[in-house]
């Protein structure tokens, strides 16, 4: 009926399963080999940050991409994961004057220390639980209202952390250490498995990198499975037509809540990794701007696309950690060089050398958001279905319109 355009053919080719599998295997192998060729520790550090970002992007992609819910406060769950870790695995909570020690948990005057591997489910569950508590009353709301409510949630959580520090005004004991941050967070225990000897220290990024990589690979597999399950199908159905989905027996709020909680769990998970890697947490890292940064990863990669989320996480991590600073320095230097020239070139040089690129990150993210939405709403590595939904008007929809446009509002009251 319709001859496929070149773009559609390319999309189809990219959709082919075998090819995807091969690509995935190649990428994973390359990722495992990367530390062998990485020239410096800083490069690997960035890669480790990228892993956390990928986790966040994967999680938010469940919420935004799969379930179609715009969450503008996603960083709050990251904060919850990170602070759960900080409270349960650091010197912060001194209890009694005797130290009790066991494999999974020890506590005493030196604080509470829960085993890292036990913290994995705890941090994920804590975030998921907050997701459920917050989502249950609000997920009935329409998309844009939900966006603003999640934004509010994202503002509230750091505020609560800020306000529950020492000597807080509501008369509670010091829970979060407030503006002072929490430091001295435990690293994961050393791992000795056959040839693997990992010691988690701040001066060696390798164990962190491999730990993150394993977690990312497992997460990707889990999310692929979810997408093709009954639950994944329900997400699509709700996104496409909520009312029809409800009448097909899908519990709308419950299904959305699952997406929200799963997304939160991944974020909490990311928070755990980040907190234990840095050894410190600071609530000002989890504000609106960070929520938007994660959103940019998802949008850039392509809403609903798992490879897209991975790519988005990597790009934004490198942009954040190195590219932008390097580019800024380069451009400023280039400007300094131009300054030596005459007339207009000099003026241009002055402008370029003073260009505050390093502080323009929000603007660059803003431009990415607007640019992607206007020029390529499906993102860089689109998921087939989402691409069709996001294209302003596909031929099929318009044809549908010919018969349906006018009947949209004819229903009885």
């Amino acid at each position: 009926m319709v001859t496929p355009s070149w773009r559609e053919r390319i999309d189809h080719w990219r959709d082919s399963r075998a090819l995807r599998r091969i690509a995935a295997v190649v990428v994973v192998i390359a990722a495992f080999l990367y530390p062998l060729v990485a020239s410096s520790g800083t490069g690997l550090d960035t890669a480790t940050v990228a892993e956390v970002f990928i986790l966040l992007a994967l999680g938010l992609n469940i919420v935004v991409g799969f379930a179609g819910l715009l969450d503008l406060g996603y960083a709050a769950f990251f904060a919850i994961g990170a602070y759960t870790t900080a409270l349960l695995a650091s010197t912060h909570f001194a209890i009694g004057n005797q130290t009790h020690t066991s494999l999974l948990l020890s506590y005493g005057p030196n604080g509470v220390h829960v085993n890292f591997f036990l913290l994995i489910p705890i941090a994920a569950l804590a975030a998921a639980l907050c997701g459920i508590l917050f989502g249950a009353p609000t997920l009935r709301l329409r998309g844009d209202y939900l966006a603003i409510v999640t934004l509010g949630f994202g503002e509230i959580v750091p505020k609560v952390i800020e306000n529950l520090g020492p000597g807080n005004s509501v008369g509670l004991p010091n829970i979060t250490n407030g503006v002072n941050d929490i430091t001295g967070i435990d690293s994961p225990p050393n791992i000795n498995l056959g040839p693997i000897h990992w010691t988690f220290q701040t001066n060696d990024p390798r164990p962190w990198y491999y730990l993150g990589l394993i977690i990312v690979v497992i997460s990707v597999i889990i999310i692929y499975r979810l997408r093709s399950s009954r639950l994944g199908r329900s997400w699509v159905a709700i996104r496409e037509d909520e009312i029809a989905a409800a009448h097909a027996g899908i519990n709308i709020t419950g299904t959305r809540l699952t997406a929200f909680a799963l997304g939160a769990a991944f974020s909490g998970f990311g928070g755990l990794l980040e907190a234990s890697r840095l050894g410190t947490v600071d609530y000002t890292e989890f504000l609106f701007n960070f929520s938007i940064t994660i959103l940019v990863m998802v949008i850039l990669g392509g809403m609903g696309s798992i490879p897209g989320a991975v790519l988005g996480g990597i790009v934004i991590a490198y942009l954040n950690q190195s590219w932008l600073t390097n580019a800024a320095a380069g451009i400023n230097n280039f400007g300094g060089w131009l300054e030596k020239g005459p007339g207009l070139i000099h003026t241009l040089g002055v402008w370029l050398s003073g260009l505050p690129l390093a502080s323009a990150k929000p603007m660059i993210f803003g431009i990415i958001l607007v640019g992607i939405m206007l020029l390529r709403p499906q993102g860089l590595l689109p998921s087939g279905r989402r691409a069709r939904e996001l294209h302003p008007r596909t031929a099929g929809e318009l044809a549908e319109e010919d018969s349906e446009l006018y009947t949209v509002r004819t229903g009885e009251i």
Binding site: G143, V149, I156, S169, S359, F365, G366, L374, E389, R393
Partner: protein, 310 residues
């Protein structure tokens, strides 16, 4: 108590003015225009140089005439520039997505907000900027020993005038009715020969211009402003619009004033050991109100519940 009320009323009037822009834009294209708060900040920033020129601030007593002219001119300039900015945003960022799924313009709006906010940051830096003093603050005695200042009277009066004017425009004039027609059924309006694009532009123009004019009043009342002032203010104003019933002009006014009074009240809570508790918690309170209203009465106080037709 009365003083808190008056302060709340004045603050609320500011929210109401900004809320009008949200409510109009949402009413006509169902978009939360995230950039609106930043347009407002832009309005404050452009008013500063205008006032610097028109009002001799080294004078001990600024003459009332000079104040009035200065404020008037600043409001017009700011309204004009904000209006243009608003129309430009709509034209460049939202119009191309008119027929896209709703998530797309919403995400774009966030992007535009980031761009403008960062541009304002590049322009004025990250600190708080003092707003020029434009009139001599005079206190008048008010009910129960409380006082009211001329600034507060000005803020409330301007907000009320704006709302009445807008209400008359939308409900009484043909263009206003066309605006409502576009909001209710865009395609049917197009079939009547109404230029939908132009009406939507006009909506952005009016909403943004109101924010621009309100920005001057804000500067006078609050006297300090930062590049990100509009973000939080915008959120509160949006909350006000939702509380009043989004799309409803009188509702925006009512919601704004309610939010203003609540903030003013909460802000003053806490004494002794818990001194400052209110100041620490009031944004949490506002967001809690937002969530509660949306969950229990999504149509707002003055809005009517509409059931989706099937």
């Amino acid at each position: 108590m009365v003083e808190i009320l008056i302060a709340g009323l004045a603050l609320g009037s500011l929210y109401a003015i900004v809320a009008l822009g949200y409510t109009m834009v949402y009413g006509i294209i169902e978009l939360i225009n995230f950039a609106h708060g930043d347009v407002f900040t832009f309005g404050v920033f452009v008013a500063i140089p205008v006032l610097d020129r028109l009002i001799n601030q080294s004078a001990i007593n600024i003459s009332p005439l000079q104040s009035l002219i200065g404020i008037g001119v600043a409001m017009i300039v700011s309204a004009l520039l904000c209006g243009i900015l608003g129309v430009a945003i709509e034209r460049l960022a939202y119009r191309p997505l008119r027929n896209a799924p709703r998530l797309a313009p919403l995400i774009t709006a966030i992007g535009v907000s980031l761009i403008i906010e960062n541009a304002l940051f590049q322009w004025q830096g990250g600190g708080l900027i003092g707003f020029p003093s434009t009139l001599n603050v005079v206190q008048y005695p008010f009910l129960g020993g409380a006082t009211i200042t001329n600034v507060q009277i000005l803020v409330i009066a301007v907000a009320v005038l704006m709302m009445i004017g807008l209400d008359l425009f939308v409900n009484r004039t043909n263009v206003g009715k066309a605006m409502r027609a576009v909001a209710q059924d865009r395609e049917a309006a197009a079939m009547m020969g109404i230029n939908v694009d132009r009406i939507i532009s006009l909506t952005f123009l009016i909403g943004s211009a109101l924010a621009g004019a309100g920005a001057v009043i804000y500067g006078i009342e609050i006297s300090e402003v930062g590049y990100d002032t509009g973000f939080t203010l915008g959120l509160f104003a949006f909350t006000a619009a939702v509380v009043g019933g989004i799309g409803n002009i009188r509702g925006a006014m009512l919601g704004g004033i309610l939010i203003g009074v609540v903030i003013s009240w909460v802000d003053n809570l806490g004494s002794g050991a818990s001194a400052g508790a209110g100041t620490e918690w009031y944004d949490v309170v506002v967001f809690a109100i937002l969530v509660l209203i949306l969950v229990f009465r999504p149509a707002g106080l003055l809005g009517t519940n509409t059931t989706e037709k099937v």
